[in-house]
């Protein structure tokens, strides 16, 4: 089924202010709740609504917006988002895959490569809901004035 994504909330407003000198990089986290709308023809649309009415089982989208408000390039650019305890990570979104941690940020890797040690000493492949931290490591510096978004999906436990 084809899925169309519509951003209802406009991620804005935050970046209009005076340039921050001490911290030329600005970072904003926003959470949205998915609303699935299935049209009569079966075409499914997902709307992202502000996370106002949220109940267990709801699908969430965390969107982190970054901006280098300075003039110099920001290198070694790494965004880290600890997954709140009450939500279960459900995969990344957008075009920039993150690495994830299942050990509270001690180590990171792609989810498919991570193993969870079970109580009986065996190992099993990590599941999305094992993820404790999500991290995006940018290969290239963010030039002055550069901005963008990274995103991950989650479900309220």
């Amino acid at each position: 089924m084809k899925i169309t994504l519509t951003l209802i909330a406009i991620i804005v407003a935050v970046f209009g202010s005076a340039p921050a000198i001490a911290a030329p990089v600005e970072l904003i986290s926003n959470v949205f709740v998915e609303q699935r709308i299935i049209a009569e023809d079966g075409h499914e649309t997902i709307k992202l609504l502000p996370a106002e009415r949220v109940i267990p089982g709801d699908k969430l989208r965390f969107i982190i917006t970054y901006k280098n408000a300075g003039e110099a390039a920001a290198g070694d650019f790494v965004i880290t988002n600890p997954v709140p305890e009450s939500v279960a990570y459900a995969g990344w979104d957008g075009d920039f895959p993150p690495v994830v941690s299942i050990d509270k940020g001690k180590s990171y890797g792609v989810l498919e490569a991570l193993l969870v040690r079970t109580a009986d000493g065996a190992e099993r492949p990590a599941r999305p809901d094992d993820v404790t931290h999500v991290q995006w490591k940018f290969a290239n510096p963010i030039p002055g004035g550069g901005a963008g978004q990274v995103s991950f999906k989650a479900e309220l436990r």
């Binding site: 911290a23 990089v25 949220v54 109940i55 920001a74 070694d76 650019f77 600890p82």
Partner: protein
């Protein structure tokens, strides 16, 4: 369903007992309502090869709202078998709170009006004096109704927990196989304080409010709709009664002219009456007292003659001689066995202690034609 032998449920209810001492064994179903979920991200970066102070995003938080979900279901899967006239007959239900919040629940029982009963058959009578009591999971018999179960609403049921609910009713004098079906409905109510019944919850309409909103997310029950904050299920009482039928036949034994050869019912003839008592019900009839007034044109002719017998069988249309021999009066050695029989002033009486379900027994005696 009767309230006996629900070991599993008793175990489950023990968890609620624990809850009231602030420990719950059942896992809550989902993040509890009122929880604030806070998210923030951190960016590490360097400028000109020099690591800079990491920047942390402002907290982005949201409040978890209340998803109301509950289930009422009959405990067990069979009808409650009752006898006519019995009181305080119990059907048992289980309420499970799968809301992400501790809630009270108001309870109501409604008599079904006709229609297919919970376990088949058709509802055809109403039980009397319907009462609802919630199991006290701390004291007394836990999981089984006892006098300590006095609460008429569910108080402070934690997320993921369940509790048993007993419906008591009195059964009118109904016939075998009659069915009274009833439906128990639980309605989610605000938790509030312990030992105080909260108001029924109302779904938040319109937009988000600053506080915890309420969203109904329950399935349709027997008599309630989906997403109405209610759940309902039916159960029934089935009457198990004795159903007695009498069949009386007569046979001319002898007459004064022909003797026992082709005797006719002429004056002086001996006639044997055979009364068969058959129980086609599903319960034993006990203490059956049978009395028969002799026709005015006849005279009692039994008593001490081996022909007044109670408790025998009927074979080939005739009462056999397997019954207990009775004499005329209601005293003496013949009354020491379970059956009794006597005759007084043209009325024959017989006492049969038990006629089992599906069984029959007989009374036979002789008269002469006046």
């Amino acid at each position: 369903m009767t309230s006996r032998s629900h070991t599993k449920l008793i175990t489950a209810v023990s968890a609620i007992a624990m809850l009231q001492s602030t420990t719950s064994l059942a896992a809550p179903t989902g993040t509890l309502a009122g929880t604030t979920v806070i998210n923030n991200a951190t960016v590490n970066f360097s400028v000109g090869g020099v690591a800079q102070t990491p920047v942390i995003s402002p907290d982005d938080s949201f409040l978890v709202d209340r998803r109301v979900n509950l289930n009422v279901s009959e405990s067990g899967s069979s009808t409650t078998t009752v006898t006519p006239g019995s009181i305080n007959q119990i059907t048992t239900f289980v309420l499970t709170n799968t809301t992400n919040d501790t809630l009270d629940f108001s309870l109501a029982a409604a008599q079904d009006v006709g229609g297919t009963a919970a376990h088949g058959g058709t509802d055809n009578f109403n039980a009397n004096n319907i009462r609802i009591f919630v199991d006290n999971p701390v004291t007394g018999l836990v999981g089984t109704y006892d006098a300590g179960d006095t609460l008429t609403y569910v108080d402070e049921l934690a997320s993921g927990d369940q509790i048993m609910i007993f419906v008591l009713a009195d059964i009118p004098l109904q016939a075998n196989g009659d069915i009274a079906s009833l439906t128990l409905t639980a309605t989610a109510a605000s938790g509030g304080a312990t030992a105080s019944q909260g108001a029924d919850l109302i779904e938040t309409v319109g937009g988000n409010t600053a506080g915890v909103d309420t969203v109904f997310d329950d399935a349709a029950g027997d008599t309630d709709l989906a997403n109405d904050g209610k759940s309902s299920d039916d159960d029934d009482y089935t009457v198990s009664a004795a159903t007695l039928a009498l069949v009386k036949t007569s046979l001319v034994i002898s007459d004064p002219v022909r003797g026992v050869t082709n005797p006719l019912a002429i004056p002086g003839a001996v006639v044997e009456y055979c009364i068969e008592v058959a129980n086609s019900g599903s319960a034993a009839a006990t203490g059956v007292n049978l009395s028969d007034t002799l026709p005015g044109e006849t005279t009692w002719a039994s008593g001490g003659d081996q022909n007044f017998r109670v408790g025998g069988a009927k074979a080939l249309g005739v009462c056999d001689d397997t019954g207990s021999v009775e004499d005329d009066d209601a005293v003496g050695g013949d009354e020491s066995d379970p059956t009794g029989g006597s005759h007084s002033a043209g009325v024959v009486s017989a006492l049969i202690p038990t006629v089992a379900a599906g069984a029959s027994t007989t009374v036979k005696f002789r008269v002469t034609v006046d």
